[in-house]
Symmetry: C2
Subunit: 231 residues, 2 copies
DNA sequence: CGCGGCTTTGATGTTCATCAAGTAAAGTGG
DNA sequence: CCACTTTACTTGATGAACATCAAAGCCGCG
């Protein structure tokens, strides 16, 4: 079930300054009128692989996963997007249809802006265009970097990566509730669910972390970082 | 050793229509005056990881590899770029320094255009901006897709990928000279050199391919495709 | 309360990297 | 141009890393 309601005025949006700072008053007004803000409960689907792309999608708050379904069953997570990320990645410029599915992994609010409007602004407002590209590029660049980081490491290094990712980039805290299942961790870093659990247990025994179900506390950040650095 | 010489006028460049078709006469003239075309012998370095980014780089012809050097010794190839690719990827918008090194793996000609000029055109010429993003996005998107394709497969599927990549996307022929060493294949698809050779030998014994040093001929495209599809 | 999905641990086997050792090819300097 | 060195290629043997299978406890949900 999707709740659709206008939560905020773009002018007052805390993220306006991030992506839309170079729009004119009038352009901002257009966005404000035409944008659709949707709220998604944890677990709700935001879009399906293969859907036609009609909107530029912007994560206001919450957390979502981008993934592909392979051979009808197995899912493979491409990345986890956090607030201020453009959750359609670059496909919005180079494809007519979504090449990934998107699901919220925490309660999330997504802002949809018709793609044609964005394209019009790119054509008319060069300063906005350039700024917009810088932002969108950095998201895609970091997806590439992350995939390489993960795939050049072995299991312990990958688990360390995931723990550091949530601690440093998502929650900014040593103590957090993992928003995804062990199975999803496995799908994100290309390893089996069982081994995700095994390595986490090992880290617990080595007093690197403490685990209680979904709750994880980092006890020894330095050693964890070292495990990540060494692969 | 680099030979630097103006080979062609942009107006007559066969790739003008690809990336610069929406520039005005005057803008094209500016590009033509300011661009630098450089020729690189096979094996020459085009840029180093960490170098300051000053130019938009465009591969006119030849073949280059983008790679990272890890822990001082091991190299990891991110992608192989073919003519018409933007070989700096998106970093040019989101970073000030190159995050990858680039080396030619065949004799290549690279066109350098000062990044500030491109940025000026993006600001001034909206139609060009939009077109430019569509092109550049598709290159980055395909890098992400490729990394996933490779990493979700095991050795046989990865070798099948490489063979199909060169056959279909680079040479458009069943018969080609592999431009990279077995070691580089290994660095590209995250496996050991020995196993690259082993799987290639296996494919030869199974009459999927024929090998004579660098020369490879695909004998059974259908079965090769099936190996790729099944992973 | 019972079913299905998630979690956990142990046992087993496969896949793969690494080591070793030898051959071929390609540079390099006299 | 030849001896020399280095680099690429190849095959076999070994062990480590990892997935898979199996079984049991747990939790949420209808």
């Amino acid at each position: 079930m999707e709740l659709s309601h206008k939560i905020s005025n773009c002018k007052e949006c805390i993220y306006k300054s991030w992506v839309f700072k170079n729009l004119s008053e009038e352009e901002l007004k257009t966005i404000n009128q035409k944008k659709i803000e949707k709220f998604f409960r944890k677990g709700e689907r935001i879009c399906y692989e293969g859907d036609k792309i009609t909107s530029f999608m912007y994560l206001q708050n919450g957390l979502v996963k981008l993934f592909k379904t392979e051979l009808n069953t197995k899912e493979h997570i491409i990345s986890i997007a956090k607030p201020k990320d453009f959750i359609g990645l670059l496909s919005i410029f180079s494809n007519t249809n979504h090449i990934y599915s998107i699901t919220s992994i925490e309660d999330s609010t997504v802002c949809f802006v018709n793609l044609e409007i964005i394209k019009t602004f790119i054509k008319k407002n060069g300063v906005f265009a350039l700024d917009f590209f810088e932002k969108i590029s950095s998201v895609s660049d970091s997806v590439i970097k992350t995939r390489i980081d993960i795939n050049t490491r072995q299991l312990r290094g990958r688990i360390a990566y995931i723990l550091l990712f949530f601690t440093k980039h998502i929650y900014d805290s040593n103590n957090f509730a993992l928003p995804i299942s062990r199975k999803e961790v496995a799908e994100l870093i290309d390893m089996s669910t069982e081994n995700v659990i095994r390595v986490l247990s090992e880290f617990r025994k080595d007093r690197l972390i403490q685990i209680e179900g979904k709750n994880i506390e980092i006890l020894d950040m330095n050693r964890l970082q070292k495990i990540y650095d060494l692969g």
